[in-house]
């Protein structure tokens, strides 16, 4: 029975006999396991501190801190808020229009919406970056309802008078959704983690092996677009986006245009935030550049001003480019890694495209489920050794 760290807090039962030669620390751990039905200790390393990494860490901690003692969680990342991809995103909860049979992702999206909604009357909601916003999805032709129509609030089709506001668009939806702003949410997640003793390392992990060799039991791989650097993944590609942040506080609705031919995020969108309005409409598959360029800047500015003429008066405050970690589906699964005698379980949780914030909590819960299975297997092994 390995004693993981001096952080162990155990109460010695009265009358416990210490075996000669056995260190008392080891015995304490053993005793506590005896008392508490074979508690397992675990050292978990989460790689990545975007919304996926931080929420996975929090979910695992919340669900297993009482049954896994000690549960040591360490976060490793070279980028923290406000420099992650999650920070640049506008923060509107909205999945892609259709799940194409991927019902699991629809389920995770809905779980995230329902979870965030429970905070909506909490006075700390704005500290978390959560608030409601309603708005429009526009189309140039009649379109079947999206897979998320029952997840959002008040979903309906647009009336002719509403469509008059958007020349060139003949069909659309209106609904109330949630905003979840990374720049507030990520610091909030880190506070919750810090409160529970999670340690953050500002360090780039060069290989899974370095963590496995150091004795980590479980690695949670939340490395987003750079997952390929740790393990090649042909399915993972950058979906480059560029956005402008403007001052337009008279805008109170999100407006998303959609083009089935060119695909998601390729046509103008306008998403008011808590302070600034994000405007965008760029999706370049395979483009690794994280620099803003003037061509995309012009395209976004012109197309969004055409959609909403009042934007002509808006002051541009920021210009940012980010890489959506695009994949045919989210990679959320276990893998066992062995390097000689050293062995660790890896829970992969990456490839969330442009819907990381939208799906994060459902995925974090599933990552915690997978973690639970690892714990269970470890316990069974321990039991079978007795």
């Amino acid at each position: 029975m390995r004693c993981s760290s001096v952080k162990d807090i155990v109460t010695l039962k009265e009358g416990t006999k210490l075996h000669r030669g056995v260190k008392s620390a080891q015995v304490l751990t053993w005793e506590s396991c005896q008392e508490n039905n074979l508690k397992t200790d675990m050292r978990v390393a989460v790689i990545g501190a975007g919304v996926i990494g931080l929420s996975s860490a929090l979910c695992i901690l919340d669900r297993y801190r009482s049954s896994v003692t000690p549960l040591i969680i360490e976060v490793y990342a070279d980028q923290y808020t406000p420099l992650t991809t999650s920070d640049g995103a506008a923060g509107l909860w909205q999945p892609y229009l259709y799940d194409k049979g991927n019902v699991q992702e629809t389920k995770w999206n809905k779980e995230t919406f329902d979870y965030l909604l429970t905070y909506i009357n909490d006075p700390d909601s704005i500290k978390m970056g959560i608030f409601t916003q309603s708005g429009y999805n526009l189309f140039t032709e009649p379109t079947p309802d999206p897979s998320w129509r029952d997840s959002v609030l008040g979903f309906r089709h647009l009336t002719p008078q509403e469509l008059d506001m958007f020349p060139g668009y003949s069909y659309g939806w209106f609904n109330t959704a949630l905003m979840i702003e990374g720049k507030s949410y990520l610091p909030w997640l880190m506070d919750r983690l810090r409160e529970q003793g999670v340690i953050f390392f500002h360090r780039k992990i060069e290989s899974f092996r370095e963590l496995v060799d150091s004795g980590v039991d479980v690695i949670v791989n939340c490395t987003g677009i750079r997952a390929g650097e740790l393990q090649p993944d042909q399915d993972l590609k950058p979906g480059r986006g560029q956005i402008l942040k403007v001052e337009a506080p008279w805008l109170k609705h999100f407006i998303i245009t959609n083009d089935h031919k060119t695909g998601v995020y390729t046509t103008p969108y306008i998403i008011p935030g808590s302070r600034l309005v994000t405007i965008g409409g760029i999706f370049q598959l395979g483009n690794w550049s994280q620099e803003s360029n003037s061509q995309d800047h012009q395209k976004v500015w012109e197309s969004c001003s055409k959609l909403v003429p009042s934007l002509k008066h808006a002051r541009i405050v920021d210009d940012w480019a980010g890489l959506r970690p695009v994949r045919s589906k989210v990679r959320l699964e276990r893998e066992t890694l062995e390097y000689g005698a050293a062995k660790s379980e890896v829970i992969h949780n990456y490839g969330h495209g442009g819907f990381g914030l939208t799906i994060h909590w459902g995925c974090a819960q599933e990552a915690a489920n997978l973690f639970g299975k690892v714990v269970e297997e470890k316990r069974q092994k321990a039991t079978s050794r007795l």
Partner: protein, 338 residues
């Protein structure tokens, strides 16, 4: 016949819009706005500017609906143009919630606003004390921006503006052919109108830029209207109360009521507060009266008594007042040609 000289008394939202309407629609008029108070000191300036109006008991519903629709259409086209931020006009969606379902679930204005529907059970969960609600999209029109915007347009149409207090219509009869009375509560003395009375409204402005929806309690007393640079919280409806200074008890009471509807407001920063007196009347007075001044008879078009619906009805009543002015000019022409 020479130029018709029109005096519009009052420079709140009703006065300026009526003056603009006349100047733009009737070419051979020279229009002058006379008032002692201009933006940002008018009764219109502190109002949230949400387009929504309660029924006037003494005005036929179809007439009120026409005023509301004309105003909505006018503001709607501004909101879709590049003028929107200058004019302070924009769309806003939200909810009106009722503790008990009202007798009239679908009010007369439900097809004037956009996307009117009843709230779903899931939506009502945000308001645990309320059992019924309406969701819709309406407009906001912020007078500290809108009034200067109207005035600029008015001057571009050769309108004149004169500062000064009018205490008697007789003062104007020597220099003007038609008088348009848009003095709101000023008509208490100016028109000796005993049907008119103030209804005091106190509001609070807070910093809460994450709020994007309006929330209005169907009782009309508690409301939250996000604006361009602040959120308006309200309010009060105190009949015949003329106090223009803010009451700390009213302030803490309305803040508490608003926080109950929207808990995140507890984290908002208070900016300012304001008190306005709604010029209330059983029926909105929009009609012609012949004023006897010595041997002359001067027509007065009254356009006042909008209560809390000044912004919501202004353009519709301006159009109707302009029509009445046109009729006066027509009659005058006929008279001068007999």
């Amino acid at each position: 016949m020479g130029r018709v000289r029109v005096a519009v008394v009052g420079a709140g939202v009703v006065g300026l819009s009526t003056a603009l309407c006349i100047a733009e629609c009737i070419p051979h008029c020279s229009v002058t706005v006379l008032a002692d108070k201009f933006s940002p000191d008018t009764g219109s300036d502190g109002a949230a500017g949400f387009v929504y109006v309660n029924k006037f008991p003494d005005t036929p519903v179809d007439r009120q609906k026409r005023w509301l629709k004309d105003t909505f259409d006018h503001l709607f086209s501004i909101s879709n143009s590049s003028e929107a931020p200058d004019a302070g006009v924009y769309l806003i969606s939200g909810w009106q919630v009722f503790r008990d379902p009202p007798s009239e679930k679908r009010p007369y204005w439900s097809d004037v606003v956009l996307g009117f529907r009843f709230m779903s059970d899931a939506e009502l969960e945000k308001f645990p004390k309320h059992k019924f609600g309406q969701a819709f999209t309406s407009l906001k029109c912020e007078c500290p921006l809108y009034l200067p915007w109207l005035e600029k347009r008015f001057k571009n149409a050769n309108g004149q503006v004169q500062r000064g207090r009018v205490t008697d219509f007789g003062q104007l009869c020597g220099n003007y052919d038609i008088i348009v009375n848009c003095t709101g509560l000023g008509s208490l003395s100016l028109a000796g109108d005993t049907d008119l009375h103030p209804v005091r409204g106190q509001i609070l402005k807070v910093q809460a830029p994450w709020l994007k929806h309006f929330i209005r309690d169907g009782d009309g007393l508690t409301y939250i209207f996000p604006g361009i640079s602040s959120v308006t919280l309200g309010g009060t409806r105190q009949k015949d109360d003329c106090r223009l200074t803010a009451d700390p008890k009213d302030r803490s009471d309305m803040f508490e009521r608003c926080c109950a509807l929207e808990p995140s407001l507890k984290k908002s920063q208070v900016l300012t507060e304001w008190v306005g007196l709604r010029p209330t009347r059983g029926g909105l007075r929009l009609e012609k009266e012949m004023f006897q001044h010595g041997s002359r008879q001067v027509p007065i078009i009254h356009n006042y008594g909008h209560g809390g619906g000044g912004i919501s009805l202004h353009w519709g009543t301006a159009l109707e007042a302009t029509q009445l002015v046109k009729e006066c000019i027509g009659n005058r022409y006929l008279a001068s040609n007999l």
